[in-house]
Amino acid sequence: MSGLFSLRRLMAVIIKEAIQMRRDRITFAMMLGVPLVQLLLFGYAINLDPKGLPAALVTTSQDHYTRAMVSAMENTGYYRFDHVVSSASEAERLLQAGTVSFVVTIPSDFARRVQRGDHPQILIEADATDPAVASGAISTLGTVAAEALLREQGAEAQAAQQSAGALKVIVHRLYNPEGVTQYNIVPGLLGVILQLTMVMMTSMALTRESERGTMENLLAMPVSPMEIMLGKVLPYLAVGAVQVIVVLSAARFLFSVPFIGSLGLLLTSILIFVLALVLLGYTFSTLARTQMQAMQLTFFFFLPSLMLSGFMFPFQGMPQWAQWLGEIFPLTHFLRVVRSVMLKGADLQGIAGEMGALILFVLLFSGLALLRFRRTLD
């Protein structure tokens, strides 16, 4: 008869949870099916560097400088000139209707100005309602346009311009030179999927007991809060492990995401992250009185962490206060770890800070959960 902690009692709770998990077929199928569906859906669908966007060309002349410009832009892959129109108002209508994402206007005096060296201009109007749509296309344009012009003007002019100190922009995209969105999205999805299922499932753990009336009985028996917590949380670690295998296999075989770093290091960080998540979910379940409340708490937490963690939008692009807010989500730190290890081949030293943050979450959440656990029905 031991007091605070007994392995046998812990095993009793774990086995009971495992049986219940297995009996609840729909939930069990969801835990394994959801990650797969999400992965396939988001992995293939989300593209933060969209190409082949519809564009309209407004031009009146057919000189070779204009043609060179247009073909150079088409060659970037970002522009697809579906519409060639002669008036600005017609182009504006297309843009407003969303038929095209860009309107490129090449003025009629473009060729003349090029020949005279009199600051030729091209007007690009982009539908910037979704900034991601326009950014790639616009960023490549300066370089492309300048190069195209130089080619047309010939070597002589090229030399003259270079000596005059014409600026050429060099862009190096590190770690993901082709800008393949999946490389960024798929490792991130690992964190997002784990977060959604782990927090949601464990947030139900205690509320289900109180809703079904079994809590009263459980409390009347000699089982400690620690045993209940670990017993309810550990089976979900096993589910998390299966999800991790699914996502990592998909990353490797479906999306060919490169894996440069150490698998052991990645798995260790995943373990700590998942532990933080299940403990957070368990804390929720000590707060909520019904399963519905637990669900709402989960989503209240899920959305901001999705938005502010750097999964959906670049973390550094957020204002300072939002970045501070983002730091309080385990997902933020896990995303950095998983991207660093998988794509940049970071070692333990490189991610020590983020790992420390994750461990801190584990300690914090388990303390909070045990503190919040009601030993009585008061």
Binding site: V13, R212, G213, T214, E216, N217, L219, P222
Partner: protein, 305 residues
């Protein structure tokens, strides 16, 4: 030493006092009945005794352990059967019992579970999910689960609600059988026949303990007189008696009318007068436990109003 000894227990929820200075003792090896109307505080009192609720005032011991500070020890030696079925409906009978056996660290788990299944006649349904059991079987499972660890005290909260008469009879035979082996039982109930099977009873109403003792004690302490009226126009007699001075209860039982009052002389006068008018026979009878409880209930609602 008594199995239960509590003094002046008070439990409030918000501004509502659910248990109001309740003191009671239950001797070892005794079957004690805990009676009272719905919402009178029986469940709350039982929960305080097994450490599920902390009392706001008062103190007490259960099996010699302090109810405020030693609830882990109490939990290990008490079997508590909740009013609502509180085992896992998605687990089979055997899985539920195995879970409980492991929590109490019984050894060997499989052997004890098998014996318990055998003992309570649950073997044939061991693999059935608890959620698909009928009321009587659920009750039997709950009883099995709370006596498996051989507790010294059983706290049963309305164990026979929604159970058919045969299963109830078997249940009480089981309880008496265990009590003869030295088990102490505190059982809350609404049924008079069950109250009469207890060694002693405690009557609680609106949080206050109104009576304690053997059935005979409680009946005689109540100081009631019961008259029985037969023959004649008893419907008219009932109408007249309900308004008569000295009459507290009038209740028809088939062709008989039970009339109960606190003041013997006034009651007799009233009954005599009405019997003469309606041409009925009358005689005095023994006051039953039910008469006493209905009297209690009438009085305490008066107090609340």
């Amino acid at each position: 030493m008594n199995a239960i000894e509590v003094h002046d227990l008070v439990k409030r929820f918000g501004t509502k006092t659910v248990v109001d200075h309740v003191s009671m003792t239950v001797a070892r090896g005794e079957i004690s009945g805990f009676l009272g109307p719905n919402g009178s505080g029986k469940t709350t009192t039982i929960r305080v005794m097994c450490g599920l609720l902390t009392p706001d005032e008062g103190e007490g011991t259960v099996l010699g352990y302090d109810i405020r500070t030693q609830s882990p020890s109490i939990k290990r030696e008490v079997g508590y059967m909740t009013q609502r079925f509180s085992f896992y409906e998605d687990l089979s009978i055997e899985e539920n019992l195995t879970f409980v056996a492991r929590l109490y660290e019984l050894d060997p788990v499989a052997g004890i579970v098998r014996d318990t299944l055998e003992d309570l006649g649950l073997s044939s349904r061991r693999n059935q999910l608890a959620g698909t059991l009928s009321g009587g079987w659920k009750q039997r499972l709950a009883l099995a689960a709370c006596i498996m660890h051989k507790p010294k005290l059983l706290l049963l909260d309305e164990p026979t609600a929604g159970v058919d008469p045969k299963a109830r009879r078997e249940f009480w035979d089981e309880i008496h059988h265990r009590a003869s082996d030295g088990l102490t039982v505190l059982v809350s109930t609404h049924y008079m026949d069950e109250a009469e099977r207890c060694h002693r009873i405690h009557y609680i109403s609106y949080g206050k303990l109104l009576a304690s003792g053997t059935v005979a004690d409680v009946v005689s302490d109540a100081g009631l007189t019961t008259m029985v009226l037969t023959g004649g126009d008893i419907t008219a007699a009932a109408r007249k008696l309900a308004k008569a001075d000295g009459v507290d209860q009038v209740a028809p039982f088939g062709l008989k009318l039970h009339i109960v009052g606190r003041d013997r002389e006034k009651l007799e006068a009233a009954v005599k007068a009405v019997a003469a008018e309606t041409g009925s026979e009358w005689h005095q009878d023994q006051t039953s436990l039910e008469d006493v409880f209905i009297q209690f209930m009438g009085q305490s609602t008066d107090n609340m109003a």
